[in-house]
Amino acid sequence: MSSTFDRVATIIAETCDIPRDTITPESHAIDDLGIDSLDFLDIAFAIDKAFGIKLPLEKWTQEVNDGKATTEQYFVLKNLSARIDELVAAKDA
C-alpha cells in the first residue's frame, strides 16, 4: 500500500496538473507548488474522499491567522500527510 504522502502527491498532481516528480515531501503546497485556496478545495475534497476524513481547513486557517500555527505545519506535504494520518487514526480509534 502506498504511503500517505504518495497518495497525497498523486492527488495534487492529478487535481492541479502539476508534474508528479516535482512534488516532494518538503514541498510547501502554497509557496512551492503555487496552489491557491480555490484549488486547495479540490484537493481537500479528493483527500476527504480518499481517506474518509474531513480536513479541518477552517480550524487550520484560523490558527494560522491567529499566529498559533504556521502554514508549514499544515501545508508542507510531509506535515500534511502526518496530519492526515492523525485524522485517520482518530477516526478509526
Partner: protein
C-alpha cells in the same frame, strides 16, 4: 424570476434536510430586456443565468443546512452542460443535492428540468462563511420568507 434583480428562485417546492436535497421552481418570464439581446428574434435564457439558478437553489439548501448561520458563495462550476434551449415562459424545476460537505466548503450537484425533461446540470462548489453583515442576512431572511423557506429551518434565538 426577476432576472434584472438576480432573483431567480420563485418557490421552494421541497426541502429535504435529512437527504440534503432541495427542489425549487422558477418561472422564466415571457419578457425581459435580457431577451432583447439574447438573442434578437430568438430569445433564450442565458446559460450563465441557468447556472446561477442552480447555484441559488443549492444556496438555499446550504443556508437551510447551516440554519442561517452561514452564507454560501459560488466558488467553482464544473461539468456544466446546457443540454437544450430554455425559452421565455417555461417553468423550471431545479433540483440540488449535497455531494460533499468539507470544512468551510460544500459541493453540490444540480439540474434544471422542464416538464421532466433535463435542460442543464452542473457540479458546483461553494465557500461558506459567516454572514458578512446584518444587512445581507436580513435581506436573505426576507427573501427566504417570500419563497417559502421552511420556518423551522430559521435559526432559533
Amino acid at each position: 424570476m426577476h432576472l434584472e434583480y438576480f432573483h431567480l428562485i420563485d418557490r421552494i417546492a421541497d426541502l429535504r434536510a435529512e437527504e440534503r436535497s432541495i427542489t425549487v421552481e422558477a418561472q422564466v418570464p415571457l419578457e425581459s430586456t435580457i431577451f432583447e439581446g439574447h438573442f434578437p428574434g430568438h430569445p433564450l435564457m442565458p446559460g450563465v443565468l441557468l447556472i446561477e439558478s442552480m447555484a441559488q437553489a443549492s444556496g438555499w439548501l446550504l443556508i437551510a443546512l447551516t440554519k442561517f448561520e452561514r452564507m454560501p458563495f459560488l466558488a467553482a462550476v464544473k461539468e456544466a452542460k446546457m443540454r437544450t434551449f430554455v425559452t421565455p415562459g417555461e417553468l423550471l424545476t431545479i433540483e440540488a443535492a449535497v455531494v460533499h460537505e468539507g470544512s468551510g466548503f460544500t459541493i453540490t450537484d444540480a439540474k434544471v428540468s422542464v416538464g421532466g425533461k433535463p435542460k442543464c446540470n452542473a457540479t458546483l462548489t461553494f465557500r461558506q462563511v459567516p454572514f458578512p453583515n446584518d444587512d445581507l442576512r436580513g435581506h436573505m431572511e426576507t427573501m427566504a420568507k417570500r419563497i417559502g423557506f421552511p420556518q423551522q429551518m430559521f435559526a432559533h434565538g
